[in-house]
């Protein structure tokens, strides 16, 4: 058997934890009623790329490890064991071994074993005969060679090179363990998990119902008898339902800042929190074709942005300015303020920035008498359209006359993929606040989500360097350097990082909204209602 030499930071954290006694002061009983913002395409978390799937189905599953559900900021320090009792890194940092719990059963009564772990990750890595319809997070495991098992209760991830971030990726709400004996098709319609709640039914456009798992391996949990999600795509109707007390909680991180005022005025007892959701609004620039193949014009564009104005108009000041990584204090990897402000376009003097931008435009042959006419493409959804309109207004000041080109969702990706745009207004959500997830997915050469096709081999080397770095402080410095360079290269100018609200009735207890991801905090096993 392979010798496991060293326990990682996470394992040390585990040792410091008291023996888990699961049931606390909560009262048992009651159905938590939540509205859902839309009808998710399926019930299979692994095949989804929206938290519309995570919110209702995360309570059905468990991960190997999970971010502490009551600490808002996800980090390596908040990793907790779930299906894994413990984990350990090998001395070379290339093998991550999990010891699994022996008392866990799937909702259909079959025992959970290491074979399920292997099956799940083989499928995610595309190495299984069973295939997902879509597999959006396959690239998360690019550095994993394979998953091997040692008996029924030990599984190891064998890596090509050290990747400390792997544990964080495994702790995401996007990374549940699936049962081997249930097909992907069945998991899309009738998911079977090991989690605190069992799936009851999913009526598209109508409702999703979960019921308490009485055999949950965390004895005494869950407190709730069930969770019912009523699908209400119309935001006004949904909010009115919450105000009138017909729902116990709003859909997480879906209440906009202006709407929050209405909720607070009409339901003054409601508990509301506003947190960053790690979704950045950014500009995708087609640098393969004129005019944005000209670096001067791209730089002028970055200099023309008045980020504070965006935030004031859309969020009444409650959003954050930053680079690729989520800004501090919620974000773990954000550049220091002074470093950020040294990037062209981030300085506080907007007039001066724009003056410089106009000079660059004039150098490129444009000016007061010769404006550059372009289209700004974006999806036909308010959160995309609204900032696009503000952007159009702002770039007028640098001789760019832009026209809004709204694109139906079905056409958006094909359009972007064939580079049929000049500028696009885009939103990028990050499931895990970790540079590995963000950098490789959005900026590495050849990545499918690297919409702009930005490719810088030098930066790519830095991606790998930071990814392997085990010293957090050293890794942070590398990440800052990369992020700064990405902004200076105008790879995908970040306009702002949004914040959104969540409200619940005062009798709902133990809800924590994560502050650096909106994908990971919905297990709901110890949520209870004081009614």
């Amino acid at each position: 058997m392979r010798t496991v030499h060293a326990f990682g930071v996470a394992a040390l954290v585990m040792l410091a934890l008291p023996d888990p006694t699961f049931a606390g002061e909560g009262k048992s009983g009651g159905i938590l009623r939540m509205y859902h913002r839309d009808s998710p395409g399926s019930a299979s978390i692994h095949e989804g790329a929206t938290y519309s799937i995570n919110v209702p189905f995360m309570p059905v599953f468990n991960n190997l490890v999970i971010f502490d559900q009551h600490i808002a900021q996800n980090s390596v320090e908040t990793l907790r064991p779930e299906l894994a009792e413990s984990w350990a890194w090998s001395a070379d940092g290339k093998t991550l071994t999990f010891k699994l719990r022996k008392d866990v059963k799937w909702h259909d009564g079959k025992p959970f074993t290491s074979a399920d772990v292997k099956c799940t990750f083989d499928m995610v890595m595309g190495k299984s005969p069973q295939k997902f319809r879509q597999n959006p997070r396959k690239s998360w495991y690019d550095e994993v060679n394979d998953v091997t098992v040692n008996g029924d209760y030990e599984a190891s991830f064998n890596l090509k090179r050290p990747q400390p971030a792997l544990l964080s990726l495994l702790a995401s709400g996007y990374t549940p363990v699936y049962p081997c004996h249930v097909s992907p098709a069945e998991m899309r319609t009738r998911p079977v998990g090991t989690g605190p709640f069992k799936f009851v039914e999913f009526k598209a456009n109508e409702s999703i119902k979960l019921t308490k798992n009485p055999d949950y391996w965390k004895k005494g949990l869950p407190y709730l008898d069930g969770i019912e999600f009523t699908i209400i795509p119309n935001r006004s109707t949904a909010i009115l339902g919450f105000i009138s007390g017909q729902f116990d909680i709003t859909f997480p991180t879906e209440v906009t800042i202006p709407l929050l005022k209405d909720v607070k005025s009409q339901a003054p007892n409601a508990v509301c929190v506003v947190e960053p959701n790690n979704v950045s609004t950014n500009i995708i620039v087609n640098s393969s074709n004129p005019p944005f193949d000209n670096l001067d014009i791209r730089r002028a564009l970055a200099l023309a942005l008045d980020r504070k104005a965006f935030i004031q108009i859309q969020f009444e000041g409650q959003a954050d300015i930053g680079g690729t990584m989520l800004p501090a204090p919620s974000g773990l990897w954000a550049m220091p303020k002074e470093m950020l402000e040294s990037i062209p376009g981030y300085g506080p003097d907007v007039a001066k920035n724009r003056e410089e931008a106009r000079k660059l435009m004039q150098k490129a042959g444009y000016g007061p008498d010769k404006h550059l006419a372009i289209k700004i493409s974006t999806r036909n959804i308010p959160i995309y359209r609204d900032p696009a309109i503000i952007l159009i207004d702002q770039i007028k000041s640098i001789y760019i006359d832009a026209e809004l080109d709204v694109v139906d969702t079905a056409q958006w990706f094909p359009k972007v993929a064939r580079k049929d745009y000049s500028l696009g207004l885009n939103l990028t959500g990050n499931a895990v606040d970790d540079p590995d997830q963000s950098f490789y997915e959005n900026y590495s050469c050849g990545s499918e989500r690297n919409y702009t096709g930005y490719c810088n081999k030098e930066i790519e080397k830095l991606f790998d360097q930071q990814s392997q770095e085990t010293d957090v402080n050293k890794r942070k410095k590398l990440v800052w350097e990369i992020d700064k360079k990405l902004q200076e290269d105008v790879a995908r100018p970040i306009i702002f990082h949004s914040r959104t609200g969540t409200c619940w009735q005062p009798y709902v207890k133990n809800i924590t909204i994560m502050s650096n991801s909106s994908y990971n905090g919905f297990r709901y096993e110890d949520v209870w209602m004081d009614k």
């Binding site: 295939k131 339902g241 079905a410 056409q411 990706f413 499918e448 989500r449």
Partner: protein, 315 residues
């Protein structure tokens, strides 16, 4: 009459065939399909995965083959599978039909039971304050968008009674059932009631000026008998035509109303299915709606003959 009915039925089949071709082609002319949407949402495209999924869903077949597969299935009662839920389309569509049927039926009932009497009253009292008031109300009905009216009703409901009618498939009380169906039906039927009222009014005004009405009055018939027995019976023909057309147009209003009141009927389902390019659902639902519209028109035509003995459908 029999020959007319047979001819109309044959024409209905031709119309439905034409509609099936139009729906099918239009859906595929619109750029993007379910696979594009799924992969767009995932933001990750492996061309091989995409091609596999297109093949699995039958989207890689020639369009003519796809059409005949659909029609062939339809004739055998096989509506295919929803691309999104992966359940049989019939299983997805059937439970939603009664919900929308109840809503549409109530809306039409509301429209006729409010629109016709108010139209008669308005015509009989032409030029009075009552007439002006009713005309203003009917104009508002025509001008208010139903989504706005629906939201106003919901807001009023929350503000006045602290609750709002959220759909429940098994209402426990009559009051709950009333709130679930009747309130949205009134919201969607308001526009239709206004239109019915205006048509009834103008039709009544025309009839009330006819010689035979004057004769009926001269013979000493009561005002009620003149208005409702002699005049309304003859004025109702264009009203029936309008109600028939409104029944067809109602689906448009229901999309909005079902969305605002969160009712899981076929109208909202159709919009969602369109958003996902869920062809089996969209095709079959539109065909179902087309059948309802074509059949309603057929019934309206037959009603003409039943109501007005002067109308005869010859061979």
């Amino acid at each position: 009459m029999f020959a007319y009915i047979v001819r109309r039925l044959a024409l209905m089949l031709v119309t439905l065939f034409g509609i099936s071709v139009i729906i099918f082609v239009l859906l595929r002319v619109v750029p993007g399909n379910i696979v594009d949407i799924l992969f767009d949402a995932a933001g990750f495209v492996d061309p091989a995965d995409k091609a596999n999924l297109e093949k699995e869903l039958g989207l890689s077949q020639p369009i003519v083959v796809q059409y005949f597969n659909w029609i062939g299935g339809l004739l055998h009662g096989d509506l295919g599978y929803s691309y999104v839920s992966e359940k049989p389309a019939l299983q997805e569509i059937l439970p939603r039909i009664p919900i929308t049927a109840k809503l549409a039926g109530l809306a039409l009932l509301f429209s006729a039971s409010i629109g016709i009497p108010l139209g008669v009253i308005s015509a009989v009292h032409q030029g009075t304050r009552l007439d002006y008031t009713l005309r203003v109300i009917s104009l508002s009905g025509l001008s208010l968008p139903s989504f706005w009216l629906g939201l106003l009703v919901l807001m009023a409901s929350v503000s006045l009674v602290g609750a709002m009618p959220i759909f429940n498939p098994n209402p426990r009380t009559w009051t709950e059932a009333f709130a679930i169906y009747a309130v949205p039906a009134m919201a969607v039927g308001f526009r239709s009631a206004a239109l019915t009222m205006r048509i009834t009014r103008s039709s009544m005004l025309e009839i009330l000026r006819q010689d035979y009405i004057r004769t009926a009055r001269a013979k000493g018939a009561s005002e009620a008998s003149v208005n409702y027995h002699h005049a309304l019976k003859n004025a109702v023909l264009p009203v029936i035509t309008v109600i028939g057309i409104e029944a067809a147009f109602l689906i448009g209003g229901l999309i909005v109303t079902e969305t605002v009141f969160n009712i899981p009927g076929i109208a909202r389902f159709l919009v969602e299915a369109l958003r996902w390019r869920d062809y089996p659902i969209v095709q079959n639902l539109v065909m179902f709606i087309a059948c309802v519209v074509v059949f309603t028109n057929f019934v309206v035509d037959l009603l003409y003959a039943a109501i007005d003995p002067r109308i005869r459908y010859g061979d």
